[in-house]
Amino acid sequence: MAAYPDNLHYTKDHEWIRVEGEIGTIGITDFAQEQLGDVVHVQLPRVGEKFEAHDTFGEVESVKTFSELYIPVSGEVAEINEALADAPELVNTNPYDAGWMIKIKISDPGEIDSLLSASEYEDFVESQKEE
């Protein structure tokens, strides 16, 4: 599996979003899950909650640390990944598929353009690593 699949859009906060029509599926990147280590809890919002781009929509806790989750684009929560309640490790083992976190109804598709492509995100991660 590619570390950063080409069909996703990325943020500098290490979230990804997959856009299918008006629905966006959101999770954290392989780099983010690796930095966190073993995930033990994911705090997610309720279906129907509305967020503006960059708002905190939840929190992910690992054995060692925790991190806030930032929404890449504005929208309303349409679905949450219930499987993470019992199997938070899916975020580690499968960050781009089974480890997804929420699906939203995107309110402004124009915001997608401001996100990073896979190669841009990869460059960003590399620049972070060098620091």
């Binding site: 073993d38 809890h41 806790e61 054995v63 925790f66 580690n92």
Partner: protein, 366 residues
């Protein structure tokens, strides 16, 4: 990262997917490819191996070695036989910690202290500053030793094929000189995980070979290399204190609930007067173990509240991978330290219920 000190196994850790972090000035693996939870569980159910070469070794030689050790530590080293070790504390006159240490007696005129990495220089200077009135020499021999910890219920069967001595004959907190795969080593039945296991000390030039031999020998039982994160969760489940978190120069040995290493009747030692006073009057606060009742993780330094008043803070807090609970240690006012006492932890603005519980949280079956 160029200033960080490296152990002789730095390259080996990287090859195993070790994620390296700055730990008190040392570049050490926080975890390997398997991850902290699997590493932790390997030690509870099979075996794990840790590079703990960052730990310091201070040796005391000379006819009055015992007198010096007795003067600077709280436990009674006169009770040790050759080949025996004890947990102890180096204390300031205030009865607070310079460090917590393992004292090994090689002979009446030779003691060997294993000390915390980041405290090595401080400990060495401290002991040496009190050595002048004794006929004893103090040496910092940390650079002479690689230290590996092989821990877990299957540590013995993993290590036995590599050594000629009968490991089963070494009692808990005893040690012997022997060879590991032909390399002279100190082999001690000690550890910091709450499991059976061994800590071995040997020439750093042999590190990579011995490390790989142990990993190979442990392959059939599923041994894993383990990083600092698993070391921390394992010691916390076993309620072993961590210097810098649970104990330091502001906390007394009695406040840390380590009265069992405080032998006030052994004769004079640094801190004895203050500790004797604390023992007579009672301490105002004590280190206790707790479990978070609500859903959430109390982490290091989170404040603790009782009846809306801040009364302390979490000194170590983490998910416990084997117990599958969220646990921690904290200093609480003495009147609030009874088992079952409820309090609140402020987890980033949320007040979560927690309660004082019996420790150790985890105790192995023998």
């Amino acid at each position: 990262m160029s200033q960080l000190k490296k152990t002789s196994l730095n390259e080996a850790h990287r090859k195993l997917g070790g994620r390296m972090i700055d730990f008190g000035g040392w570049e050490m693996p926080v975890q390997y490819a398997a991850g902290t939870i699997e590493e932790h569980l390997a030690v509870r159910t099979a075996a794990g191996v840790f590079d703990v070469s960052h730990m310091g070794e201070i040796e005391i030689h000379g006819p009055q070695s015992l007198d010096l050790v007795q003067h600077v530590t709280t436990n009674d080293a006169s009770k040790l036989s050759d080949g025996q070790a004890q947990y102890s504390a180096l204390t300031y006159p205030e009865g607070t910690f310079v460090d917590d240490v393992l004292v090994h007696r090689f002979a009446a005129d030779h003691y060997f202290l294993c000390v915390n990495a980041s405290n090595t220089d401080k400990d060495f200077d401290w002991i040496r500053s009190h050595a002048s009135v004794f006929d004893a020499e103090v040496a910092n021999s940390s650079a002479n030793y690689t230290q590996l910890a092989i821990q877990g219920p299957k540590a013995l069967e993993t290590l036995q094929p590599l050594v000629e001595v009968d490991l089963g004959a070494i009692k808990y907190y005893w040690f012997t000189r022997g060879q590991v795969d032909g390399v002279p080593a100190i082999i001690a039945r000690t550890g910091y995980t709450g499991e059976d296991g061994f800590e071995i000390y040997f020439d750093p030039r042999e590190s990579a070979r011995i490390w790989n031999r142990i990993l190979d020998a442990g392959k059939p039982i599923g041994i894993l290399p383990c990083g600092l994160a698993a070391r921390n969760t394992l010691r916390l489940e076993a309620r072993m204190a961590l210097y810098g978190n649970d104990i330091d120069d502001t906390t007394s040995v009695l406040e840390a609930d380590l009265g069992w290493i405080c032998k006030l009747n052994k004769g004079n030692f640094i801190g004895r007067d203050r500790l004797t006073g604390q023992k007579e009057k009672g301490v105002a606060r004590k280190l206790v173990g707790f479990e978070v009742i609500d859903k959430g993780i109390a982490r290091d330094h989170y404040p603790i509240f009782i009846d809306g008043r801040e009364v302390g803070m979490v000194t170590s807090g983490s998910p416990a991978p084997f117990l599958k609970k969220n646990i921690g240690l904290a200093y609480l006012p003495i009147e609030r330290t009874e088992i079952g006492t409820k309090f609140e932890v402020d987890v980033r603005g949320r007040r979560l219920a927690a309660q004082v519980v019996q420790t150790p949280f985890y105790k192995r079956s023998r």
